[in-house]
Each structure stands twice: as structure tokens, then as C-alpha cells.
Symmetry: none
Amino acid sequence: MYVTLQQAQQAIEAAQSKAAEIGVPMNIAIVDSGANLMAFVRIDGAWLGSADIAMRKARTSRYFDMPSGELGKLSQPGGSLYNIEHSNGGIITFPGGIPIKDAQGEIIGAIGVSGSTVENDNLVAQAGVDAL
Amino acid sequence: MYVTLQQAQQAIEAAQSKAAEIGVPMNIAIVDSGANLMAFVRIDGAWLGSADIAMRKARTSRYFDMPSGELGKLSQPGGSLYNIEHSNGGIITFPGGIPIKDAQGEIIGAIGVSGSTVENDNLVAQAGVDAL
Amino acid sequence: MYVTLQQAQQAIEAAQSKAAEIGVPMNIAIVDSGANLMAFVRIDGAWLGSADIAMRKARTSRYFDMPSGELGKLSQPGGSLYNIEHSNGGIITFPGGIPIKDAQGEIIGAIGVSGSTVENDNLVAQAGVDAL
Amino acid sequence: MYVTLQQAQQAIEAAQSKAAEIGVPMNIAIVDSGANLMAFVRIDGAWLGSADIAMRKARTSRYFDMPSGELGKLSQPGGSLYNIEHSNGGIITFPGGIPIKDAQGEIIGAIGVSGSTVENDNLVAQAGVDAL
């Protein structure tokens, strides 16, 4: 029911490989099913400010059991969840956070990636999820 | 002048029933007339991140003595209360928070509900208010 | 692995009964194994400031898998964990928080009680734990 | 001048080995010379609340370029740095945080470990430092 450290590191390694492949230094965070930090790495040269964002994306994905970017579609001006970002001490609602599920489809944690365009962030996060 | 714990629990039970009826696990919070937390429940399986939002919706409704969603109409870009969400340590201005009144119409607290669409959140909050 | 809402409410009801028995209004909080709030009640007339303390005691007990008061023995001036209270956004290290275990002895959450002397707080928290 | 991710992971692996050797699950954090988080792991079963403490110990060690426990000797009641723990958003001044130096003796980061007694925390942190 909880992502293990071994799983977390497996996901981070896969995400690191993808980041290396596309040539962008990333911050990568994994939280468990209680939204508590499990593992984190900042690749050399990655933006300092993206460390916090990677952790918030991971938490956000577990807080609402969906990719962080899905929330962002609803939190725009005029949207039904406008300014939801003010909750939970500050959440991040653009892409780069994705829930992690076990073989039975139960959510056991989440990954958050930050350091490049949100497309790249999400690509790297997905590589981490796919490794499990 | 203050909602009692008995009233708070009565409202929460009615809200829980409505949540069960529509089949969506919710977070439900009640604050008193001082905007201080009185009671809270998270239904099994409800979003973790919605606990904080339910409490903020309840506080927001009592802070301004109106449904939380009314504020959201005024806090949009160009609106008269643009980004009021930054006040009070972070408020939530989409629907799901409703003031609770006594028989004389005086506000004695508020309910906040989060866990689904804002329409469902508001429906469940209203069920809680109607129980009193 | 997670305390359920039904268990949380059972623990709260037992704690409420004990609080009524000793005649002291209490704030009672339950967190799950991820240290996330599951349920909360403030008995009419209980100290407003104790709501936050009850929630922090519950979190603290789960953060370190021990009664909150055990930490306080080590966090005194000259103690090995002096001023640990500054961690995790502020923790509470006097008695009133106790882990909740399942039948196999695994910790599935924690209860936190605040509103009277720490002896009474702990007595009421223990009543909540014993109900499960 | 900055610890690299490779060095950070090398230190974490050595710390993990030492933690396994003494049989205590730990939280281990590495910050760079800017006191920004570089890498973090929570060993399965480690205290949830020690994640935050490990990160604070690492930051504290770099903030003041000394083992975290050295500060604690000066922050006691009557001491010259009484309650310095209130600074920097909350620092931790008991043992378990140690600066990391390069071959020339320049500080390039710090390690912070939390999850057991401060003696064990410090032992595991030292193992991480010694690996570099």
C-alpha cells in the first residue's frame, strides 16, 4: 500500500535516464501514499527552485489522485477550482506530477518532476512511473 | 450564537448521507461563529488534499458570511476582489462552503465540503445546512 | 493499514465519554498512518487553542511512533532532542498523543487530545485507543 | 565547490549501509554548499517525522559550517545562542548533521541523518561523510 524505497529509487533511476536522454537536468521527488517524501534527487545543474516544485507536484498528485496538470485545467480564471493553489500550504497544478499505482491499480504514491518545460517534466515523470 | 457540537455532528451526518447517496467520498468540516474548527470527518477514500480545502471553505464562508463560491465571482482577474485568496493564510473561493444560521437567521458557523466537483461539494454542504 | 473513519469515530466517542466522565471539555483528533487528519471534534466549551494542539499531538505521535509525551522527556534543556519542537512545522511533545495500532500491532494512526491537564489529556486519549 | 549528485548518492549509500549494519531505519538528506536539497532517502519503516529533521540537520550544518550538535551546546537556556532554533524557519541543533568537505577542506555541502538516538544518527551521518 506504500511505495517502497526500492521502488522509489527504481522510478527515480528511470526518470534520471530519461532526463539524460533528453539532455535536461531535473529535480525528481517521490512521495508515498500518505503524501510524505520518500526519495529525492537533484541532477547536477538543475534549477534550485525546481526542487520545491518537484516535491509539491508529487504531493499534489497524491492529494488529488490525478496528474498535477489535470488540476491546472480547472484552476484557471473562470474555472471551477480557480486558485486551488492556495490550499495545502501551496500546491502546483501544472504538469509533471503523476500518481504511482501498484499492480492492482491502487495508488501507492506519486512522482513529481521539475526542471524544464512542463512537457519535458511530464515526459520524465511518466518514464519514472513506467519503470514500476 | 455558536454552533454546538451536537449541531455540528447533525450537519456532518446529513452531509455524509448525501455523500453516500451520490456515491462520492467527501471531507466535511464545521467551524463555529469564531471561524474555529468544531468538527471534521474524512470519509474513507476521500482525497487527502480535500481535507485542507474543506476546512478553508468553511472558514472562508464564516470570514465573509456568504457561500464561498460568491467570493469567487469577485476574485477573478479584473474583479473587485482579485486574488483575495492570498488573505487569511489562504482562502478558498469556489463553491462548497456555506454559512450556518440559527432559527433567528443569525450566523452561528459554517460548513465546508470538498472531494468531488464543486457542484457535488455544494450539494453535500447544503444537505448539512438543511439538517439544522 | 489505515485507520478507517468508523474506527476513528469509535475512538472519538470513547474519548468523549471519558471526557464527560471527568467533566472536562476536550479537543480530540485522529490522524491516519500517513499523519493526515481523519476526524476531529471540539466538545462545547473546550479551549479554542487546544484544537490545534490536539491535531499536532496526533501527528507527532505518528511522526515518531510513540506517545507525544515520550518525546518531551528528551527535548528538555540539556536533553538529546532539545528543541525538536521546531521540526515539522511545529510539533507538541507533552502528553496527550498516542499511536493507534491494529490487532497485529502495526501502527495505523494516532489520537491527540487537548483541553485540560496533560494527565487528563492522556487519560482521555488512552480511552480512545482502548476502544479499538 | 558544490557536492555533485554522484557524491551525494555515494554518501547516502554509505550511510544506508551503516544504518543497515546497526539495524535502524533512517532518513538521510544531503544539501549542497548553497544549503539547497540535493538528495534524500527515507529507508522503509523510518519515522515519518524524521524526514523533516534530517533535512533541517543538513541545512543547519551548512548554515553554520559545523556539526549540528555543536550549535546545541550553545543554544541551551543561559547559553550564548539561546533558542537559535527559531531562526531560518526552524533549525535543529542536536547531533546528526555534519558538513561535507572536498579534498582541499572546503565545505561543499552537508549531510543530515535522523531516525534513532542522536548517537546513532551521528554515526550514520559520519559514515556518509567518510565515504567521500
